[in-house]
C-alpha cells in the first residue's frame, strides 16, 4: 500500500552527498518518514505514459512547475515523480527512453526530495540558474541540439485546463526553450496526461479514501463549531485545523461562507459574526499524499425552512441517481440525464455537475452542462470525481439560495462508490 516504498534500483546518490556526515548541514531523512506510493505504482504509471507518448510520437515530455491553486497546477509533475508536497517547485523532464529528471529550485531542496521520495534518482537544483537553463542542459544530455526535430510534449499549454485557460508554463521558460531548439515540434501534452491520470489505481483510490476520512473531520468540525456570534473565519479555521490534525496535507481548498440565502462559494471567509438562519455553502477538500477528496455539505444555523429541505432532498436524490448511473460503459451524459430527471420530476430547476478529482485537474473534466450540452465522456472503472448536483429557491431575504451538495466517488461495476463516510444531510445546527 502507500505508507512506505520498496527499494528503488538504479538511483543516483543524493546531490552533494558525502560519506562524511559533518561535511553536510543536512542530517539524514528516511524514505519511511513520508507517505509515498510503491515502485510498482511508479512502473505502472511510467509504462502507461510512455505508451501514450509512443502513440503520439512524443520523444520527451516536459512538466513545468507551478505551485498555484493550492499546488494543484503542479499535478502532472507530482504524478510523474511524486514530487512534492506544499510548494516545492519542481519541473519534470520525462524522456520516452531515458532516466527521468526532476529539477527543483533551491540547492537544499534537492537532497531532501531525493532522500525522501524513492521514484526519481536524478533530482537537480536550479541554484542561481533559471528553469530553462536546467531543462536545456538535460535535453542536451539526452542528445537534443539545435537541429533536433523530435516532437516534445509540453504539459500546461493553453485551453486544456479549465482553471488555467492559458496553461502554466512561463513565458521566459518557453521562449528560451524554443530558441535553444528551434526545429523541435512543440506540442501540447496536457490532454494526454489528463486522459492517463483519469483512471486511478488501487493505491491512488486508497489515498482518496484517506483524504475522504480527512474531509469527514472538516464536516464534523463545522457542525461542532458553527454558532451564532462567532466569526465565520473562526469556523473555517477550525475546519482547516481539524484536517491538519487528522494528517491532512497543506495547503488544501475550503471554499466556504455562511450567511443568509447564500448562493456562491467564497475562497476566503470574512470576519462577520454568524447569525441565526445563516446558511453555509461550501466546497471542502481533504488532501492526502496530494490526492484530493472534494465534498459539499450544506449546513443551516437553526431550523431550515421547508424549501431548504425540499431542495436538499431533490439534490440528494439527484446525487443518488447519478451515482447509480456511474457505471463502466455508461457516459457522463447518462449521469446528467439521471440527475436532471429527478429535478424535472420534482418540478425544480436543477443542474447536474461533476468534477474530476485526483492530484489536480484530473479528467473527466468539470461539467455543469446538461445531457446534450457537452461531449460525453465514457466512464471506466477507477475514475474518480465529485458528483455535485445543484438546485435552489428563493429564501426569506428575497434572494435566491443555491442548494449544492455532493461527494467524491469512484466508478465501480455497481455504480459510483462514495469515498468518505460522513452522513449526507442538510445539517441543522441548533442555536
Amino acid at each position: 500500500m502507500v505508507e512506505t516504498s520498496g527499494s528503488s534500483p538504479q538511483r543516483s546518490p543524493a546531490p552533494g552527498a558525502s560519506a562524511q556526515p559533518s561535511a553536510s548541514l543536512v542530517s539524514p531523512i528516511s524514505a519511511t518518514e513520508v507517505t509515498q506510493l510503491s515502485i510498482a505504482e511508479r512502473d505502472r504509471r511510467w509504462a502507461r505514459v510512455r505508451r501514450g507518448m509512443a502513440e503520439e510520437g512524443i520523444a520527451l515530455l516536459l512538466a513545468p512547475t507551478h505551485t498555484g491553486h493550492w499546488a494543484q497546477f503542479q499535478a502532472d509533475v507530482r504524478y510523474l515523480t511524486q514530487l512534492a508536497p506544499n510548494m516545492y517547485e519542481c519541473f519534470a523532464v520525462f524522456p520516452a527512453e531515458s532516466e527521468v529528471t526532476a529539477i527543483t529550485r533551491m540547492a537544499a531542496h534537492a537532497p531532501w526530495l531525493h532522500d525522501s521520495y524513492q521514484w526519481v534518482g536524478d533530482v537537480r537544483a536550479l541554484g542561481t540558474r533559471t528553469w530553462s537553463v536546467a531543462v536545456i542542459e538535460r535535453m542536451h544530455e539526452l542528445g537534443f541540439d539545435e537541429s533536433s526535430q523530435e516532437r516534445v510534449g509540453v504539459i500546461g499549454r493553453r485551453q486544456w485546463m479549465p482553471r488555467s485557460p492559458e496553461g502554466i508554463i512561463r513565458y521566459d521558460t518557453m521562449v528560451r526553450l524554443m530558441e535553444a531548439f528551434p526545429k523541435v515540434d512543440w506540442v501540447n501534452a496536457t490532454p494526454l496526461m489528463n486522459h492517463l491520470r483519469s483512471v486511478k489505481s488501487p493505491e491512488e483510490i486508497a489515498c482518496h479514501e484517506r483524504a475522504g476520512a480527512i474531509a469527514d473531520k472538516a464536516v464534523e468540525a463545522m457542525i461542532e463549531h458553527a454558532r451564532p456570534g462567532i466569526p465565520a473565519q473562526t469556523v473555517w479555521a477550525h475546519m482547516h485545523a481539524a484536517m491538519l490534525l487528522a494528517g491532512g496535507e497543506y495547503p488544501s481548498m475550503i471554499n466556504w461562507d455562511m450567511r443568509q440565502d447564500l448562493s456562491a462559494f467564497a475562497r476566503h471567509p470574512t470576519y462577520r459574526l454568524l447569525e441565526p438562519n445563516d446558511f453555509s455553502l461550501n466546497e471542502i477538500e481533504g488532501k492526502h499524499n496530494g490526492y484530493v477528496h472534494h465534498t459539499l455539505h450544506p449546513a443551516y444555523l437553526g431550523k431550515a425552512p421547508d424549501n431548504y429541505h425540499r431542495t436538499y432532498e431533490a439534490a440528494y436524490e439527484a446525487f443518488e441517481a447519478a451515482c447509480a448511473a456511474a457505471r463502466p460503459g455508461n457516459t457522463t451524459a447518462d449521469m446528467a440525464r439521471a440527475a436532471e430527471a429527478v429535478f424535472a420530476r420534482r418540478g425544480l430547476e436543477g443542474q447536474f455537475a461533476m468534477l474530476g478529482r485526483g492530484l489536480g485537474e484530473d479528467g473527466p473534466h468539470m461539467t455543469v452542462h446538461g445531457p446534450n450540452g457537452e461531449q460525453p465522456t465514457p466512464l471506466e472503472a477507477g475514475q474518480v470525481f465529485a458528483i455535485r448536483p445543484v438546485t435552489g429557491d428563493i429564501g426569506a431575504t428575497g434572494r435566491r439560495f443555491r442548494m449544492w451538495m455532493g461527494d467524491t466517488c469512484v466508478v465501480t461495476p455497481d455504480g459510483a462508490r462514495r469515498l468518505s463516510a460522513h452522513p449526507m444531510e442538510l445539517t441543522e445546527i441548533p442555536c
Binding site: 543536512v26 498555484g68 497546477f73 517547485e89 533559471t130 528553469w131 521566459d172 479555521a237 497543506y250 456562491a264
Partner: protein
C-alpha cells in the same frame, strides 16, 4: 490604520484606506512616468502561498487565498481587475473598495480580456506605447518570472509594435518602504507568529509525529485570525540544518532539534520568525551558538537605522560572531506581501549599496553552525521581522527570543 468601514457598510475583511490606495497609485504612476511606461500589467499567479501575486494585491487589494487576479494599471485611466469566475468578480467587488471595475474571464482567456481592456484604452495593432509587465523577467523566487507563455504570446501578437518591458523592479522598489498601515498589518501578523511559537512550545512532546506538531502551529495561527495559506518551513530531528517545506511523520524524540521559518500572514502581509527549539536540555554548544546568534541579531538590529547600509548591519553581526569565536553568518531579506526588497543578503560586497530608509521591513535571521552529537552540523537560526526606525530596527512581534528547551 485599517479601515473599519467602507461607505456605509461595515468591512467584513481587513482592508486599507482609500488614502493608502491613493498614496500607492501616485507613487507607482510617478515611477511609470519616470520610465515612460503607459500601462502596467500584473499577471495572476497564486503559487508560493499566494506570494507570487504580491504585485496585484499591492495595486488592487485583490488576491486573497488563491483568487487569481490580473491587474491592468494605466498611467492615466481606470484600473481594471480581471479574475477567473463570475462569482469571484462579484465577491471581490463586494468585499474590497479600491477597484470597482472587476471583470471575470468566464469562458475566455486572460489575454482576451487584457486585449479587450487595452483596446478600450486606445491600443491597436499600430500602437507603439511602452507597456510594463510585472513578472516578465525574474525575481528571487521566480527566476523566469510568472507570466504565462500563452498569455504573453497572444499579447505580443495583438500589439506587435508595443515595447514590452519588465516592470518587476519598478514595482518592487515602490513596495520596499512600508506605510504606517502596512506596518500595522505586519505587526498584527507578528501577534499571530507569537501564537505559532507558543503552540510549538506547548505541543512539542516526544512520541508525537512531527507533522502533528506542525499542524498545531498552523491551527494556532488560523485560530488567531491568520490568513491562508502561509509558509512554515520546519523540521525537527537530531542536529538538523535544513528547513524543509513539509514535515514528516517521524515520531519526535528526546534530543531532537527544531529549525524553522514561520510566516504568519494578515491581510496578505507576512511576519517571519525563526525560533529554535530543543527536546530536552540543549548541549552547551547549542546554547553557545544561540547566544552568539542572538548577539549578532541585536547588533544588526541596532545598526538598522536610516542612512546606514545593509553592509553596516552585516559587519555589526559579523563582529558579534567573531568576538565569540562562532562560525556565524549574516542573513536578511525584505518582508511584506511577497518577494519584497531588500533582496536576500548574506553579507556580500553589494550590501554597501543598499541604503536603509525608515519603513523598510525585513526578516533579520543570522545563523551559526557547529557539529552535534550525531556528527552532523546543526544550524542555529534565529530571527524576527523588524522595521527600520530612527533608533534602529524595531521587532514586530513580542514572543521571547530564546532557545526553547522542552522538559
Amino acid at each position: 490604520m485599517l479601515s473599519e468601514a467602507r461607505g456605509s457598510l461595515p468591512a467584513e475583511l481587513p482592508q486599507f484606506t482609500l488614502a493608502e490606495r491613493d498614496r500607492r497609485w501616485a507613487r507607482v504612476r510617478e515611477a511609470m512616468a519616470n520610465e515612460g511606461i503607459d500601462l502596467l500589467l500584473a499577471p495572476p499567479h497564486s503559487g508560493h502561498w499566494g506570494q507570487m501575486q504580491a504585485d496585484v494585491r499591492y495595486l488592487t487589494e485583490c488576491g486573497i487565498n488563491m483568487y487569481e487576479c490580473l491587474a491592468v494599471f494605466p498611467v492615466a485611466a481606470d484600473i481594471v481587475v480581471l479574475t477567473r469566475m463570475e462569482g469571484h468578480a462579484a465577491w471581490l467587488r463586494e468585499m474590497y473598495g479600491w477597484v470597482t471595475d472587476v471583470r471575470p474571464i468566464g469562458g475566455k482567456s486572460w489575454s482576451a480580456l487584457v486585449i479587450e481592456r487595452m483596446a478600450e484604452l486606445g491600443y491597436d495593432a499600430a500602437s507603439r506605447g511602452r507597456v510594463g509587465v510585472i513578472g516578465y523577467a525574474g525575481s528571487a523566487d521566480a527566476p523566469e518570472g510568472i507570466m504565462r507563455y500563452d498569455t504573453m504570446a497572444d499579447l505580443v501578437e495583438a500589439f506587435p509594435n508595443v515595447e514590452w518591458v519588465s516592470a518587476t523592479e519598478l514595482v518592487n522598489h515602490v513596495r520596499m518602504v512600508k506605510s504606517a498601515e502596512e506596518i500595522a498589518c505586519i505587526e498584527r501578523a507578528g501577534t499571530i507568529a507569537d501564537r505559532a511559537v507558543r503552540a510549538m512550545v506547548e505541543h512539542a512532546r516526544p512520541g508525537i509525529p512531527a507533522q502533528m506538531l506542525w499542524a498545531h502551529i498552523h491551527a494556532a495561527m488560523l485560530l488567531a485570525g491568520g490568513e491562508y495559506p502561509n509558509m512554515i518551513n520546519w523540521d525537527i530531528r537530531p542536529d538538523t540544518g535544513f528547513w524543509p517545506r513539509y514535515p514528516t511523520n517521524r515520531l519526535i524524540q528526546p534530543g531532537d532539534y527544531c529549525i524553522n521559518e514561520m510566516d504568519a500572514k494578515f491581510n496578505g502581509y507576512i511576519h517571519q520568525t525563526n525560533h529554535p527549539l530543543y527536546m530536552g536540555t540543549a548541549p552547551d554548544n547549542y546554547r553557545r551558538a544561540f547566544d552568539a546568534v542572538l548577539a549578532a541579531f541585536e547588533a544588526a538590529r541596532e545598526a538598522a537605522k536610516p542612512g546606514n547600509s545593509i553592509g553596516d548591519m552585516a559587519r555589526a553581526a559579523q563582529a558579534a560572531f567573531t568576538s565569540r569565536g562562532a562560525d556565524g553568518h549574516f542573513m536578511m531579506h525584505g518582508r511584506g506581501l511577497g518577494d519584497d526588497l531588500p533582496s536576500l543578503s548574506q553579507g556580500g560586497p553589494s550590501d554597501d549599496h543598499v541604503v536603509l530608509e525608515e519603513g523598510i521591513a525585513f526578516i533579520l535571521k543570522p545563523w551559526a553552525q557547529d557539529t552535534g552529537a550525531s556528527g552532523y552540523r546543526f544550524r542555529m537560526a534565529v530571527g524576527d521581522t523588524c522595521v527600520v526606525t530612527a533608533t534602529g530596527g524595531r521587532r514586530l512581534s513580542a514572543h521571547p527570543m530564546e532557545l526553547s528547551q522542552i522538559a
